[in-house]
Symmetry: C2
Subunit: 356 residues, 2 copies
Amino acid sequence: MVEPASGSAPLTYRDAGVDIDRVTDELRQVAKMARRTHTDPRVLTGIGSFGALFRADFGGMAEPVLVSSTDGVGTKLLVAQRMERYDTVGACLVNHCVDDILVMGAEPLFFLDYVAAGHFGEGKLAALVSGFARACEAEGLALIGGESAEMPGLYRPDDFDLAGFIVGVVDRPQVLGLERVRAGDVLIGLHSSGLHTNGYSLAQKILFERAGLDVHDTLPGMDISVGDALLAEHRCYRRPLLPLLKDEDLHALAHITGGGFTDNVPRVLPKHLSAVIDRDAWDVPPLFTALQRLGPVARAEMDRTFNMGLGMLCLVAPGAVERVLAVLREGGERPLVVGRVEPGDGSVRYAGSSDA
Amino acid sequence: MVEPASGSAPLTYRDAGVDIDRVTDELRQVAKMARRTHTDPRVLTGIGSFGALFRADFGGMAEPVLVSSTDGVGTKLLVAQRMERYDTVGACLVNHCVDDILVMGAEPLFFLDYVAAGHFGEGKLAALVSGFARACEAEGLALIGGESAEMPGLYRPDDFDLAGFIVGVVDRPQVLGLERVRAGDVLIGLHSSGLHTNGYSLAQKILFERAGLDVHDTLPGMDISVGDALLAEHRCYRRPLLPLLKDEDLHALAHITGGGFTDNVPRVLPKHLSAVIDRDAWDVPPLFTALQRLGPVARAEMDRTFNMGLGMLCLVAPGAVERVLAVLREGGERPLVVGRVEPGDGSVRYAGSSDA
């Protein structure tokens, strides 16, 4: 039990590293950005205060089901930190979450963000939240709430983390997934914009440690810097897939996130079926081939870590493939047939060239 | 552009510090704990995979409104780390979130957790999630989803952070809040169990830095260690308040979190009313008086940082005070009348002894 020296200056919360006034000010900017996303009349603003309100009005649905998901950005945040660019990772997280519920057939309703940091420097919190707000606006969901925590001691001053939480809705008869998947279904791949939000620990080990590259260096075959390539925003597949969500011939969608094809495709496979992916069916983008060569990393390990250039796989009834491809092309995609479903054991098998 | 030395051992994701197999195993334990909370038949398990499904069936409600909130535990996590006790902070977070939507009049439906760490040591992830699961079970909501991210490089090995997301529902005519609050309303305080989840940066600065205490020391007037006192779980006020949620005479609830009375009570005050809190109306618990003395911290700063022993304030119609007190006592509370609402400017004023 030690009493403080008599005459110690009185302590305030600000002395402990938490400046409520400064944060309150930045939170006001954040609130303004969030309000721009409140275009859905079901968002009830102006009433209440401790929680965010959204009218559960799902007119026209026989049996509405809420679909929720949570995610983080992972160590992609370290790239944002190296690049001192904070306005994109929030969009990655929104898009990741939208894609995660899209594969259940759900349309997004609202999103909440969690932002934690050792210190919110000038404009850092606002920049981070601007990424969330921009993507929510683009995809038509409401950024309805959030928490910003400045935690000196828990995070080093420049460190930060983000988490996102999404709620969407789907009519139960339209839930996509393994119940619909049949032998003979065709796998259609949609291009990714880069690593999306997965495999960043390995990618950074390869590029910055093994290869000794800097974020400002360029990779052969690419005309942008390593940093720009790594920070490319996680794509949202909602717009191109929207016209197909109620299509009976779209059986399932697999969002290729952590674990690559190897771990994500089985999430939509019944135990008695396997997916065969033809590795020769698409050109693996230069960022992935560079990672594979510079590691070096075995192709099998690549396929269970990275998306290899395809961020979303559609499992489609064989008779509908041409029609689905046409709809996707109309939506601006360059879709590719990359495999099919066969009798098996719930796993993914690979065909074509094995180790590059 | 540096090529790796010829003959470098091939890299795997595990080499980058992420061991999917080990984490998968701990995630299986986590899934088992979560399943125990899936007692609500609206939780649809076994279908889908990328998102969690909950039937939007709110039978009997005229106009169901979803109430959502997100929060973290703040630097209370540093105390858990010092004490190496990981199974309580998850419960703090669930209870915090339940209390946050309770003040809107909402009953909780489901919860999702985000857990990030530099490294999940033996059983740490499972211990953290056990706190979430235990509190969800106790309060009857479903732990429906979550994300566990191991991020070497972003977090130091022993560091971790938690975020929680809650969704509840309230029938719109029963939304509590400032629209109902009138001059003359009486403030009834409900005891907190300790600091709950706020003011931990200041508390630790005082206790560990200024006073040089260790988590295992005891404070005068307390028969438990500093660590145990600081780790006391955030109380959930759902059970005692449940019988009052549809009571017209309960006008509003203020959850006393970050910002103390000074910042939280105004969240339920119309601009033309103020709340007067009588500081002599309750005994401030020894943990708070010790913090105030050891800082030293001015009482005004205490009141805008800590809950001072009252974690929830109920704003009640004057004619209903005795009845409400009786209901709360029946629910096991020791409720206290601590102030009233008066014409004013939307702020909190304090009466009674000013600086102890």
